[in-house]
């Protein structure tokens, strides 16, 4: 196990002091990288935050183990994320960044690719959930978080059968959007 695995643990445990340490140590490097590739300081911080959240989601998968320095791994995740933003927004040439993203430091890269792809699919589903109407979002979220659906129905002022019907409809709308997005 790499010595920098501790940073993964900070994220996994939501350790505020550890997270501050990550920012103190790596934020300047990431923000500069983004600024050198057509981004602003805010873009840099946004990419850093989203990348740390992605790494957090990877870390809660039980077999995630860091095989290189945390800085190198974080840099890779941020570069890929920024590359996607640039491609999506069709901003400025990205040749240099693409070259450096394609450079891999060790042989774990394929496994990382798969993990990043998974996280990207998950992020897409969550973003599409936010585009549903408020009642659909509320129903889906509450039904996932709370065990007793009869109680959810009661607190929402609807019958249990109606809640189930609405939930089916909301899930069908979400799945339709997911299907249309082309990632799945």
């Amino acid at each position: 196990m790499h010595i920098d695995q501790i940073y993964i643990k900070y994220l996994k445990d939501n350790n505020s002091e550890g997270i501050q340490l990550i920012y103190n140590k790596y934020s300047k490097q990431i923000v500069t990288l983004i600024q050198q590739n057509s981004g602003s300081e805010d873009d840099g911080y946004d990419i850093l935050q989203e990348s740390l959240v992605d790494i957090y989601h990877m870390s809660i998968e039980k077999d995630f183990e860091l095989t290189t320095s945390f800085g190198a791994f974080l840099g890779l995740v941020c570069k890929r994320k920024w590359l996607n933003v640039l491609k999506k927004n069709q901003r400025m040439p990205v040749t240099n960044l693409e070259k450096s993203v394609l450079y891999v430091e060790d042989d774990s890269s394929q496994a990382w690719d798969e993990m990043l792809e998974t996280v990207n699919r998950e992020n897409t589903v969550m973003a599409l959930l936010d585009t549903l109407g408020e009642s659909c979002q509320q129903i889906i979220k509450r039904c996932m978080l709370e065990k007793h659906q009869e109680k959810i129905a009661e607190s929402m002022g609807i019958s249990y059968a109606y809640l189930r019907k609405k939930k089916s409809e909301c899930m069908a709308s979400l799945v339709k959007k997911v299907k249309e997005c082309g990632l799945f």
Partner: protein, 237 residues
């Protein structure tokens, strides 16, 4: 396939049983397209389950705090607000553009159909389903009579009260509709925003346009209802 598509979520959650389950699984084995749809919904369900219980929002709070400590260490108040203002203006412009380009073309004054509760045949509430049929045939008074019986039995079920309000709207009884929908619009049920919308319609019909506008402005912008409210708002303005 449509009636089976309604049951996918129940199947995934293990609520299907008996003949319903046999019918569903037979179809699953025969129809590749349906199988792929079930597979996709299962994957989406898994992702939602994983993400919504992941503790991400707590982590985001810590990241936000750490970021702010780094970012604003040396900046003055004005410098802090400047980027936020720029982001807010950009968001407003994007939002306005989005609404302009993608406004739905639904009939703004049309009543929604009343939704059936049937997920699995055996569990249907017969009285409620009768009210659904009557309402959807525009026999509003008859539907309301049944709904009022259901309200007596289950006064906490807002869904019955909501459709009673809409039934008055269907009969163009604006005052009665407003009275019923106001309580729901002021409450916290999942019908609160829909109730605001139809209450606004009812108020507009009574010539209380400024009250209607105020209500429409309270409806969140996401989803079809948000777009519809925005469109009605533009029309009223």
């Amino acid at each position: 396939m449509e009636h089976l598509a309604d049951k996918i979520q129940d199947y995934i959650e293990g609520h299907l049983e008996g003949q319903d389950l046999i019918e569903f699984e037979n179809h699953l084995n025969q129809d590749i397209e349906f199988r792929n749809l079930v597979k996709l919904q299962k994957e989406v369900h898994g992702i939602l389950n994983k993400r919504l219980t992941s503790g991400e929002s707590d982590l985001r709070e810590s990241l936000f705090l750490a970021e702010n400590k780094m970012k604003y260490r040396k900046k003055g108040i004005f410098q802090r607000l400047q980027p936020l203002m720029a982001v807010a203006s950009a968001a407003c412009l994007l939002f306005a553009g989005y609404l302009f380009l993608f406004s739905p073309s639904d009939n703004l004054y049309e009543l929604p159909s009343m939704q059936s509760e049937i997920v699995r045949g055996q569990e249907s509430n017969e009285q409620y389903e009768e009210a659904v049929q009557l309402y959807n045939k525009q026999s509003y008074a008859e539907s309301r009579a049944i709904l009022n019986i259901l309200i007596e039995k289950e006064p906490d079920v807002i869904q019955y009260q909501y459709y009673v309000g809409l039934s008055y709207l269907g009969e163009q009884k604006w005052l009665e509709a407003s009275e019923k929908l106001t309580t729901i619009a002021e409450g916290q049920s999942i019908f609160k925003d829909e109730a605001k919308y139809y209450l606004a319609v009812s108020l507009d019909k009574q010539g209380k346009t400024s009250d209607a506008i105020a209500l429409l402005k309270m409806i969140p912008s996401q989803g079809d209802l948000g777009k519809k409210a925005e469109k009605l708002l533009k029309k009223m303005n």
